[in-house]
C-alpha cells in the first residue's frame, strides 16, 4: 500500500469514527445543557460555589461570571508557578520567572497553550497536573458555555436570559469532558502513553550508561489536551513525543479527540434551536473547509518541495517514522483548524505551502470545526456576516434563525471579526520595527517572517502551536503574546455574549417567502465563500510575504 493511499484511508477511518459519535455526543450535550436536574455530587459543587444553577442570567451577569472565573484562574496559575520551587512534588524544578509565568498562565486560561517553556525541564507534577491540566478542562468548559449561551440567545424569545454560567461550567466539565477523558486516558495508556508519578530517575541504555526519565501523569493530561482543544504538551516535543503519542493508533485517536466535540456541537446547536438542518448546514461548512485543507496539506507534504526536502527525498524533517507524512498532515490540519495547537510533527519544517495552510487555518478564526465552543460561536458569527451580506444584496433586513440582524447585532459581529486580525498584524509589525525581537528567529528570509507572524496568529487565535524555531522566551514575546492571547480570547467573548443578549431580547420574526433559507446547501456555499473572502483577504498581504513567497520559491 502506498503512503498516500494509507493516508487517505486514515482520513476515511477518522470520518467514519466522527460520523458514528456525531449523533450520540451532540444529543448528549444538548441534553446536558438543557437539563434542570442535578445529581447529588453536582449539588454539593454548587453549594461550594455558592451559586444557584437554576437562576437565569442576562448577558452582563453571564459575562461577569466568565471574566471573574478566568481572572481568578490566571492569578491562581501564575502564583502556582511562582511558588513552584517551594512546593513538594515539583521534581526539584525552580519557580518560573514572572514574564514566563504570566505568559503560561494567560496561555492555559485562554485555551491557547502556547508554551515558551520546556515541559520536561520546567514544570513539576503539581503545576502540570494540578494547574495546567485543570485549565485544560475548565478553559474548554468556558468556551463551550459561551457557545451554548449564544445558541440560547438565538433560541429564546424575549427573555433576555442566556442560562447560568456556573451551571454550564460545571456541567460541561463533569458531564462531558471528564467521562470522555477517563476512557480516553486509558486508551492512550493501553497504546503506551505513560501515567505515573515517579520522579526523575535513571534507566539503563543499550550501549551502557543510563539516561534520565521524567515520570508524570501524561496520558490523563494528553487526552484532555486534545479533547479540550488545548494543545499544551507535557513534554516539549508535544504529541510527537513517544510517551504522549506512542503509535499510529494513538495518533489517529488523538486527532479524533480533537475533532469530536467541535463537530458534534453543531448537532447540539441544531437541537437547541429546534432545527437539526440548521446544524447540518454549519456542519457542512466546517467539513468542507476541513477536508479541503487536509487534501491540500497532504498534496504539498507528499510533494515535498523545498531544497532540503528534495535533497533528502521527502519532507520527513520534524516528522516521526511511525506516523509518516500522511498521518502528520492530517494531525497538523486538525490542530490548526481547531484551537488545539498540539503537534505530532513540527510545522516549521513543513513545506512552504504546508506552513501557509497551518497559518491560514488559524487565521480563518479556527472555525472549521474550531475549538470546543469557540469554533461554534466563531462559525455562527460568520453565519451572521453571511446573512448580512446576502441581505445587502437583496436590500432586505437580514434574519438568522428567526432573529433580525439589525445595526446593534452587526456592530457586535463586526467588532468580533476585527479583533484578532488587529492583534496579529499590529504585534507582528511592531516586532519587526523594534530592534531585538528579530534576534529570536532561527530561520531567515520569508520563513523567518513566518515564524513571528505564526507566533501572533497562534496566540491571538488561541491555537498555541508554533514555528518553534522562534525563541519566544524573551520578555517581549512572553508579554506581548500573553496579551494577545488574553485579548484574543476574552474580547471576542464579550461581543459574542453581547450579541447573544441582544438576540435573546428579540421576539422571533415569522419566516416569509423572502427569508434566506439558512439550512440549504446554497447557504453553506455562501458561508464558505464569506469566510474565505473576509478572513482570507485580511491576511493575504502578510501571507504573501511569508509562506507564499517561500512556497513559490521552492
Amino acid at each position: 500500500m502506498s503512503p498516500v493511499l494509507a493516508g487517505v484511508l486514515q482520513l476515511l477511518a477518522l470520518l467514519v469514527a466522527l460520523g458514528l459519535s456525531y449523533r450520540p455526543l451532540g444529543d448528549h450535550m444538548a441534553k446536558v445543557y438543557s437539563s434542570e436536574k442535578y445529581y447529588k455530587p453536582e449539588k454539593w459543587i454548587y453549594k461550594a460555589i455558592g451559586a444557584n444553577p437554576n437562576v437565569g442570567m442576562r448577558w452582563p451577569a453571564y459575562l461577569r461570571g466568565v471574566l471573574a472565573f478566568s481572572a481568578v484562574s490566571v492569578l491562581f496559575l501564575y502564583l502556582l508557578q511562582r511558588v513552584q520551587g517551594s512546593l513538594p512534588g515539583s521534581l526539584g524544578f525552580v519557580s518560573i520567572d514572572p514574564d514566563q509565568a504570566f505568559n503560561t498562565a494567560a496561555s492555559f486560561v485562554a485555551n491557547t497553550n502556547w508554551q515558551s517553556y520546556y515541559g520536561e525541564q520546567a514544570m513539576g507534577h503539581v503545576v502540570q497536573t494540578g494547574g495546567l491540566a485543570v485549565q485544560n478542562f475548565v478553559s474548554a468548559a468556558v468556551g463551550m458555555a459561551v457557545a451554548v449561551a449564544l445558541v440560547r440567545g438565538f433560541a429564546s424569545s424575549r427573555s433576555g436570559e442566556l442560562g447560568n454560567f456556573w451551571a454550564d461550567l460545571v456541567r460541561g466539565t463533569v458531564r462531558i469532558l471528564l467521562p470522555i477523558s477517563v476512557v480516553g486516558a486509558l486508551v492512550l495508556v493501553a497504546c503506551g502513553a505513560i501515567q505515573n508519578f515517579s520522579g526523575i530517575h535513571e534507566v539503563g541504555q543499550f550501549t551502557g550508561g543510563s539516561q534520565q526519565w521524567n515520570g508524570g501523569a501524561v496520558a490523563s493530561q494528553e487526552v484532555i489536551k486534545e479533547l479540550g482543544t488545548n494543545g499544551g504538551g507535557y513534554f516539549n516535543a508535544n504529541s510527537a513525543h513517544p510517551f504522549e503519542n506512542p503509535n499510529g493508533l494513538s495518533n489517529l485517536f488523538e486527532v479524533y479527540l480533537i475533532l469530536i466535540i467541535p463537530f458534534a456541537l453543531t448537532r447540539t446547536f441544531g437541537r437547541m434551536v429546534g432545527s437539526l438542518k440548521q446544524g447540518y448546514a454549519i456542519l457542512g461548512t466546517m467539513a468542507v473547509i476541513w477536508l479541503g485543507f487536509t487534501a491540500l496539506m497532504m498534496w504539498t507534504e507528499f510533494a515535498g518541495r523545498g531544497p532540503a526536502f528534495e535533497l533528502a527525498g521527502g519532507a520527513m524533517e520534524g516528522k516521526e517514522t511511525r506516523f509518516g507524512i500522511g498521518a502528520s498532515a492530517i494531525f497538523s490540519v486538525a490542530t490548526t483548524l481547531t484551537s488545539t495547537g498540539a503537534v505530532n510533527s513540527f510545522h516549521s519544517s513543513n513545506t512552504g505551502f504546508g506552513g501557509g495552510i497551518n497559518l491560514l487555518g488559524m487565521q480563518l478564526g479556527e472555525i472549521a470545526p474550531g475549538g470546543v465552543g469557540s469554533g461554534l460561536y466563531g462559525m455562527l458569527i460568520m453565519a451572521v456576516i453571511a446573512v448580512f451580506l446576502a441581505g445587502l444584496m437583496v436590500g432586505r433586513t437580514p434574519e438568522y434563525l428567526g432573529k433580525k440582524i439589525g445595526t446593534r447585532e452587526i456592530k457586535f459581529t463586526a467588532l468580533y471579526i476585527l479583533i484578532t486580525p488587529a492583534l496579529v498584524l499590529c504585534f507582528t509589525a511592531a516586532s519587526f520595527v523594534l530592534d531585538t525581537p528579530v534576534n529570536s528567529m532561527t530561520n531567515s528570509g520569508a520563513h523567518g517572517f513566518s515564524e513571528i507572524l505564526y507566533a501572533y496568529t497562534s496566540g491571538a487565535n488561541n491555537n498555541g502551536s508554533a514555528f518553534a524555531g522562534l525563541n519566544a522566551d524573551t520578555q517581549w514575546f512572553n508579554s506581548t503574546i500573553g496579551i494577545a492571547m488574553l485579548l484574543g480570547r476574552f474580547l471576542p467573548m464579550v461581543f459574542v455574549l453581547a450579541l447573544a443578549g441582544s438576540l435573546a431580547e428579540q421576539a422571533p420574526v415569522p419566516e416569509t417567502a423572502g427569508t434566506l433559507r439558512t439550512e440549504k446547501p446554497l447557504f453553506t456555499g455562501l458561508l464558505v465563500g464569506s469566510i474565505m473572502i473576509i478572513t482570507g483577504l485580511t491576511y493575504f498581504p502578510a501571507l504573501a510575504l511569508g509562506p507564499l513567497a517561500e512556497g513559490l520559491a521552492a
Partner: protein, 224 residues
C-alpha cells in the same frame, strides 16, 4: 458604586471557589483515579515500556530512541557511531539553542528548520554522504538515491525509536560484515522486526532500532 464593588467581589469569590472545587476534581481525583487504574491494568506501559536485553537487564524503553555510539575520543564533541549496530535517525534538534541533546530524554524537540534553511541543507547533505560511505561495504554499494528520507532527517521528538524498513535494509550488509554474520541472517532479523501498518493502514511500516539491536546482540552471542 459600592454595590458594584461588592458585586464584583462576590463574583470573584464565587469564581475562586469554583476553581478550587474543579481543581480537586480534575487536578487531583481524576489523575489519581486514572493513574490507579492504569498502574493496575497496564503497569508496564504506564511506566514507560521498559525493555530488557537477553540477560534481563533494562536497556531503555521500546518507545524511546537511543544512540549506538563509540565512546568519546579525545577532543571529539560528538561521538562517532558504532557501526556494529543499526543506527537510528539523525537528531539535530535544539542545536540552535546550544543544547543538542541527541536522544536524551531530558529534552525533546525538533530542529524547526525550514526546507530552504542552509543548516538543514548542509545536515542533509552530510548525513547522506555519511550513510552512503558507512554502508558501502565489500561488494555492496549504496547509491545516494537509495537513501530514504528518514535516514537523513531529524524527527519531531528527537527521540524517534524507529527507522523505515528501507533504512534498516540498507544497513544490513554493513552490520553483517562488522559482526561477522551472513547478510541473509541479518536480513531475516530485519524482516522479523519490521512492523507493518496497524490494521494494514494506520501509521507507517517501521523497524524498532532498540529491539533490532537487542536481537542482533543475541544472535552474535549465540554464534560466538
Amino acid at each position: 458604586m459600592n454595590n458594584s464593588v461588592g458585586n464584583t467581589g462576590r463574583v470573584l469569590w464565587a469564581g475562586l471557589r469554583a476553581l478550587l472545587v474543579l481543581t480537586v476534581i480534575t487536578g487531583v481525583l481524576y489523575p489519581l483515579a486514572v493513574t490507579g487504574i492504569a498502574q493496575l491494568a497496564f503497569p508496564s506501559k504506564a511506566n514507560g515500556s521498559e525493555t530488557k536485553d537477553g540477560s534481563g537487564k533494562v536497556v531503555g524503553s521500546e518507545l524511546i530512541g537511543q544512540t549506538y555510539d563509540l565512546p568519546l575520543k579525545g577532543s571529539e564533541k560528538t561521538a562517532a557511531p558504532d557501526l556494529k549496530w543499526f543506527q537510528p535517525r539523525p537528531s539535530n534538534g535544539l542545536g540552535g539553542n546550544g543544547v543538542n541533546t541527541r536522544y536524551k530524554l531530558i529534552l525533546s524537540g525538533a530542529t524547526n528548520r525550514s526546507g530552504d534553511n542552509e543548516d538543514l541543507i548542509k545536515w542533509v547533505t552530510d548525513a547522506k554522504a555519511a550513510v552512503v560511505k558507512d554502508n558501502s561495504v565489500n561488494g555492496y554499494t549504496v547509491k545516494p538515491s537509495d537513501v530514504p528520507a528518514d535516514a537523513v532527517t531529524s524527527s519531531g521528538s528527537g527521540l524517534d525509536p524507529h527507522i523505515s524498513p528501507e533504512y534498516a535494509k540498507l544497513q544490513v550488509h554493513r552490520v553483517a560484515e562488522k559482526n561477522g554474520l551472513d547478510a541473509e541472517q541479518v536480513e531475516k532479523l530485519v524482516a522479523d522486526h519490521t512492523d507493518d501498518r496497524i490494521l494494514g493502514f494506520i501509521g507507517e511500516p517501521r523497524v524498532n532500532v532498540l529491539q533490532l539491536n537487542i536481537a542482533l546482540k543475541n544472535l552474535v552471542a549465540a554464534k560466538g
